[in-house]
């Protein structure tokens, strides 16, 4: 008997297996693998998560793609739906549709240096890419993670950052926009880390995720460091609804971000990102 086609607009019911507070307003939810959609995902893709009775929002995968049984999403409480999601306890149910969208271009990165540039919650969609890059470490050149966030208490995935920082084959630099004592790390916007990173512009691929204005500045700084626009990839955020490129809510110029993104090569969106009305 043929397996019935799944309706991509109909959410699966999933249960929260565990929750973890990453920062004052950021939580990682691990969903019950038996009830989450039975699929793998590419780093950079997202699911539509439903808080029943409140609404649905796009949230990127933040877990390890090599562990398809452990579906993780990291959510910041900013609106009604995301706030409701962060209030879910173990055993609570939510709706899940996906995975949707494009992933980070990791096949293109083979044999090259890779720099991941994360701003704030933007480290969450990059974490699966870093897991995969580290799992296949020998296939890539120099690996760097440059992570900027608001203040020391907003740093996400602290324990993993410490473990990654201890590796000899990965450079990890963290900066915060403002700090009070006793923080002894970098202070300054994430673009200052790009200037210091001394990237080999001919062989580096850049994966950038964060607030859009931060990505624009980061892309400019990467350009100033000599990287071509074709070597820079951004993860865009727009008003995604259907996830299928049908409803048009997430249109950005000629792109439907839920289908043609969220991961997009910079030269495809550079001009559109400069248009205020878009």
């Amino acid at each position: 008997m043929d397996t019935p086609l799944l309706d991509p607009l109909r959410p699966h019911i999933a249960r929260v297996r565990s929750t973890r507070r990453e920062a004052p307003d950021v939580w990682t939810l691990e969903l019950d693998a038996d009830q989450a959609p039975p699929c793998g995902f590419a780093p950079g893709q997202f699911n539509m998560l439903t808080a029943f009775g409140v609404g649905e929002v796009p949230i990127s995968f933040s877990g390890d793609p090599a562990e398809p049984g452990r579906v993780r999403h990291t959510v910041r409480a900013v609106g009604a739906v995301s706030s409701a999601l962060t209030r879910l306890d173990c055993g609570a149910v939510l709706g899940v549709r996906g995975p949707f969208g494009t992933g980070w271009p990791l096949p293109e990165a083979v044999g090259r240096d890779v720099v991941l540039i994360a701003g704030g919650l933007g480290i969450a969609p990059l974490r699966p890419a870093l897991y995969q890059l580290l799992a296949e470490r020998a296939r890539y050149g120099r690996l760097s993670l440059l992570y900027g966030t608001r203040g020391p208490r907003d740093i996400l995935f602290r324990r993993e950052l410490e473990a990654w920082r201890a590796r000899a084959d990965l450079t990890v630099e963290v900066t915060v926009d403002h700090a009070t004592h006793p923080w002894h790390g970098h202070v300054g916007v994430v673009t200052t880390l790009i200037e210091r990173a001394r990237l080999d512009s001919d062989r580096t691929l850049a994966l950038v995720c964060g607030p859009e204005v931060m990505m624009r500045f980061a892309a400019e700084a990467l350009g100033a460091a000599g990287l071509a626009a074709e070597a820079i990839f951004l993860s865009l955020e727009r008003n995604m609804h259907c996830g299928l490129g049908t409803c048009g809510h997430c249109q950005l110029g000629g792109l439907l971000v839920c289908r043609d993104g969220p991961v997009v090569r910079y030269d495809r969106v550079r001009d559109a990102l400069r248009i205020r009305e878009l």
Partner: protein
């Protein structure tokens, strides 16, 4: 002195500088070292010398009533510490504190200003280089001001 000239010419701020200019700047320079916690610049003090950082990290700190000491920027090897010596009234606007052992080239500001006034080609060369640093820092400060990671409802 020759070694100082070489160090100055190798610093990113002065990359590609003509040797005679490196020699002129070297005449205003000396080596310095600061221990962790030591102040390199003090808010309100006269901006008598600035630093080309060679190793270690320095925090620029502002003290605000009720908020304590706020670090607004850190600077590291290859960067310039101190720009208030460029314009009157030549006073530092922040404290700068060594977070670890810092090695730097200190450059006498009055000496360099006098040499720039006497040789406008040197002055123009320096102005271009310092302007690049200032513009990059202005862009960074504006991005910082946007508080892009904050919640904006």
């Amino acid at each position: 002195m020759e070694q100082l000239e070489q160090i100055i010419a190798a610093h990113p701020l002065f990359a590609g500088l003509r040797p005679e200019y490196a020699r002129l700047i070297g005449g205003c320079a000396h080596n310095v070292r600061f221990e962790p916690g030591q102040l390199l610049l003090r808010h309100g003090a006269s901006a008598d010398e600035f630093y080309l950082l060679r190793h270690g990290t320095v925090a620029l700190v502002l003290t605000a009533a009720g908020r304590g000491a706020l670090t607004v920027q850190t600077l590291g090897p290859g960067e310039l510490l101190g720009v208030s010596w460029l314009v009157a009234p030549y006073r530092w606007m922040y404290d700068a504190q060594a977070l670890e052992t810092v090695g730097a080239i200190a450059i006498d500001a009055a000496c360099l200003r006098a040499k720039s006034a006497a040789d406008h080609d040197l002055g123009f060369e320096l102005a271009q280089r310092f302007m690049g640093v200032l513009v990059r820092r202005l862009h960074a400060a504006r991005l910082q001001l946007l508080d892009v990671y904050g919640t904006h409802r």
